[in-house]
């Protein structure tokens, strides 16, 4: 077995650390070591985007990165979107606009949409489709996901939520 490495990360605002094998993928650290199972493993081949999380403010596919690479970084997972028991406007948007059916892609869709709205608070439909182009959904045809992100953008513009 390879030499284990200490990994320290801040996940959803909380300091966490673990000794891991270098080959441990970031998504396995998140799901199995830190027990945050909101982040999903879909294709496991960096196509589907279900495993998308934010690392230092940028979206990454956590199935295509080793946990040791994230050492010292800040991670945001879908569990970190809720604030003081209030759903994030994106989560509310997915609920109101029926942005999911089976829900498997939803955590990744939320994280990609979150990153999009950080950079484009008032995105066009094209911006939204571009922003989620690394995430696959097999149920919705994307129509309602786009509406959900538009809902969230509108709500965040009114309420000043981040």
């Amino acid at each position: 077995m390879a030499t284990k490495q200490l990994v320290r990360v801040k996940v959803n605002g909380r300091e966490r650390e673990a000794e891991v094998e270098p080959r441990l993928l970031l998504v396995h650290l998140i799901r199995e070591v830190l027990e945050l199972t909101g982040t999903h493993i879909g294709c496991d081949t960096s196509h589907c985007g279900a495993c998308t999380v934010l690392l230092n403010g940028k979206t990454v596919k956590s199935c295509t990165m080793f946990a040791v690479q994230a050492d010292g970084g800040e991670i945001l997972t879908v569990e970190g979107l809720i604030k003081d028991g209030q759903l994030h406007p994106l989560q509310e948007g997915f609920k109101e606009e029926h942005g999911l059916q089976c829900g498997f892609c939803t955590p990744g869709m939320l994280m990609s949409s979150y990153a999009l709205l950080q950079n484009h608070p008032n995105p066009s439909e094209e911006d939204i489709r571009w922003g989620i182009s690394g995430n696959l959904c097999r149920c919705t045809g994307y129509q309602n996901i786009v509406k959900a992100v538009q809902f969230a953008a509108g709500k965040m513009a009114q309420g000043g939520a981040k």
Binding site: T3, Q5, P22, R23, T45, K58, K61, F66, Q69, G134
Partner: protein, 289 residues
């Protein structure tokens, strides 16, 4: 899929990284963006015993014009190209290229240098860098050397980089006035490799005659292809519809595609011709502005 076990090494400087690569030789691989290497490790197509992670080496991520060159650092991510005002204003061909590589998440990690050093003829930057006449800086045990891009790609997954060398900088000659370039790619879906793609870079004089011509082809042969016959044909000629059409046909003739799930060889040849026509036409439009 769990990749095979490996030892993880995190050098802080380029000399330290080179020393590790020398020490472990064939057993070591460089980890930069990891967006090609990690999928290959998961599929057991690569089984390095040591990974040398370059990501903590400072000062390797930059996009700047210096002297006669645009310089792109070895750890510069695709997303950084997409966000760079310099790339937007002066190098739209590079922006075209970065935009159609994989997807936003992959582009946040994937590096331009990795896209070249991987030696995959399906990757997108090689054709663009061939069209631009880039020079690649390799840092190794004996210092730095500069490799012209036309000498870089040897065969599938094989480049002119020697063991112990790291691709630390990409240098692109700053294009003169009345230059323009474009990259056209057909892909089946976002994130797919090209069925075929063509990069074209032109410099014209005030009469519209081609002074410089660069044409590169993606995923239609064992290596990225520099379409020399098409370049030679167009150089010194007026860049008009007729000559663009003829150059595009020559480029199609220089492609060596093989049939696969993306289509039969003849279809891909035809596609190269059409994409070359579009890329040259767009390059000319951009040169005129």
């Amino acid at each position: 899929m769990i990749p095979p076990s490996f030892e993880y090494l995190r050098p802080k400087t380029i000399p330290e990284a080179i020393a590790l690569l020398q020490q472990y030789g064939d057993e070591a691989k460089i980890l930069s963006g990891g967006q090609s290497l990690i999928p290959m490790m998961k599929l057991r197509l690569a089984r390095p015993a040591y990974l040398v992670d370059l990501n903590r080496i400072p000062g390797l991520s930059y996009i700047k014009e210096e002297g006669d060159f645009l310089k792109i650092g070895g750890l510069t991510r695709e997303a950084e190209l997409e966000a760079s005002p310099l790339i937007h204003s002066k190098y739209p061909i590079i922006l075209d290229t970065a935009h159609v590589i994989a997807d936003p998440q992959v582009r946040n990690l994937a590096t331009v240098a990795g896209n070249l050093a991987h030696g995959d003829p399906a990757n997108d930057h090689p054709a663009t860098m061939l069209a631009l006449g880039a020079q690649l800086v390799a840092s190794g045990p004996r210092g730095e050397r500069v490799i012209p891009i036309a000498d870089f790609f040897l065969s599938v997954f094989s480049t002119a980089l020697q063991p112990g060398e790291i691709l630390t900088e990409i240098r692109i000659p700053v294009p003169p006035a009345r230059s323009g370039g474009a990259y056209f790619k057909l892909e089946r879906k976002v994130g797919d490799f090209a069925t075929a793609a063509v990069a074209a870079q032109l410099t014209v004089d005030d009469q519209g005659t081609a002074q410089k011509v660069g044409i590169g082809l993606t995923n239609v042969g064992p290596t990225p292809i520099k379409a020399r016959k098409a370049e030679d044909f167009l150089r010194g000629k007026k860049v008009d519809t007729g000559n663009i059409g003829q150059a595009a046909q020559l480029a199609a003739g220089e492609s060596q595609p093989s049939a696969d799930l993306r289509g039969p060889a003849e279809y891909k040849k035809g596609l190269v011709g059409e994409l070359a026509r579009r890329a040259l036409s767009r390059a000319l439009e951009r040169a005129a502005h």
